[in-house]
Symmetry: C2
Subunit: 306 residues, 2 copies
Amino acid sequence: MIYERVALIGLGLIASSMAHAMRRGGLAGHIAGHARSAETRAIALELGFVDSVHASAAEAVAGADLVVLAVPVGAMEAVAAQIGPHLRPGATVTDVGSVKQAVIDAVAPHLAPGVQFIPGHPIAGTEHSGPHSGFATLFDNRWWLLTPLPETDLQAVSRLRTLCEAMGANVDEMDAAHHDLVLAVTSHTPHLIAYTMVGVADDLRRVTDSEVIKYSAAGFRDFTRIAASDPVMWRDVFLTNREATLELLGRFTEELFALQRAIRTGDGPLLHEYFTRTRAIRRGIIEAGQDTDAPDFGRINRGQTG
Amino acid sequence: MIYERVALIGLGLIASSMAHAMRRGGLAGHIAGHARSAETRAIALELGFVDSVHASAAEAVAGADLVVLAVPVGAMEAVAAQIGPHLRPGATVTDVGSVKQAVIDAVAPHLAPGVQFIPGHPIAGTEHSGPHSGFATLFDNRWWLLTPLPETDLQAVSRLRTLCEAMGANVDEMDAAHHDLVLAVTSHTPHLIAYTMVGVADDLRRVTDSEVIKYSAAGFRDFTRIAASDPVMWRDVFLTNREATLELLGRFTEELFALQRAIRTGDGPLLHEYFTRTRAIRRGIIEAGQDTDAPDFGRINRGQTG
């Protein structure tokens, strides 16, 4: 057992997966849960991944030695304000938001000096959300990034790291600003682009919706999966990682215009050179073990390998 | 048996998968194959999905009652010119190119009036290419679009349709121009966007390559898979489906700028509304059976269900 009492604030995909993973490894004594919706709380209790549910976040965190903020980034400040006065001295607070600097700005001011705040971000997810969507293997062999503050106690960081590793993840530490730039590249901008492409397809009236759906080839189908992610979570990501996302979008459109011009002018060599170069990154990802080149794309095993 | 002698011109992913699928169903008597590369021909013979290989396309098509052009769209005209004089009267010629009007323009002038030309496009693929990459279930439950010309013999169309269905595919017919627009939406533009995003990530020097690869989250990882597709095939797609692609890119950037402005001005309601709307298309795709919402995304079963 790594923590005696864990409080999960928010009971969606990430929190429920953490609970399942903690159960699997016997990593937590008591798991307390809070969600705003009574229905969500009832489902969590029925599925049994929490030991108790609480109508208020303040009640849920009482006595907890680990508190996990698993709510949309835009809701972090309100939650922190609620739980701040009720945290046990020496407790560790972490979060699972996709943006880190904005969460630090929102949460840290509400925590007493004796509380250890260690922002975190598990790079794992599916298109699904809600308490039903969690599963114990979600974090297996995925990265879990921690962005501790300079003043954070090293032992507290080490203990949280041990928990993340025991849930199956690989842990890295970096500063919050760097995290937000890296994720703008690897996650936030790709998501915005996928949302845009799916929106464009939806608008194009000459191609009926049924055809777009019926003949959705690999490219578009993958985009729709990305674009089916939780709207509230992603709204908050873009509003709170604004600068990095806007910088990346600027570079993206610049590059897209260059390719567009190559298509218009019929510049085959430029297109061929560009498309050849992008293959190398893909090869790197497969070699880094973040995906496989199996015909099934490794989806079935992704979460199950150690 | 549906055709006594089939000639495959090109022995990559699609042609080798067709051969495996035809073997599975006993759909062809003799399968003859041609590829420009002697190594590819040797591999095809060794893997056994063809009965004979031929150093020239003209030799391969001799006596065939079905000829399948499975080369990049930009190579179609040269191949058609080579085989034209050697086709058996009454033979059916089809192709598997991702663009249809350009293939018709390139191929039809080289065929004798007695030859039935029925352009086709199986909407199926993986990121892999070459004779090793084929498998018998690639077309199972995927769409195979045929764009017959007004003068084509209906019986010839019906026979080819039967073959495609026996290889596991669902068949639809439409005119070539409409095909090219639909595919620009569902496949070509998404591919160009994925290529662009991967290229941008590669260029961003402040984020080291290893980090982009290491922390590649779902969004970017899917993009790299799309962007790892065959560079020659995709160069030809964009050069030959130029107008529809450029039109879609125009709409895409217009839409992207609107979302970019919403991020800059902090317009949360607009972002939330947009992201909510895109979920509906995803739901439609799952309901249409083109993907599943299983946690493994159905990848393992995608090609294997009837």
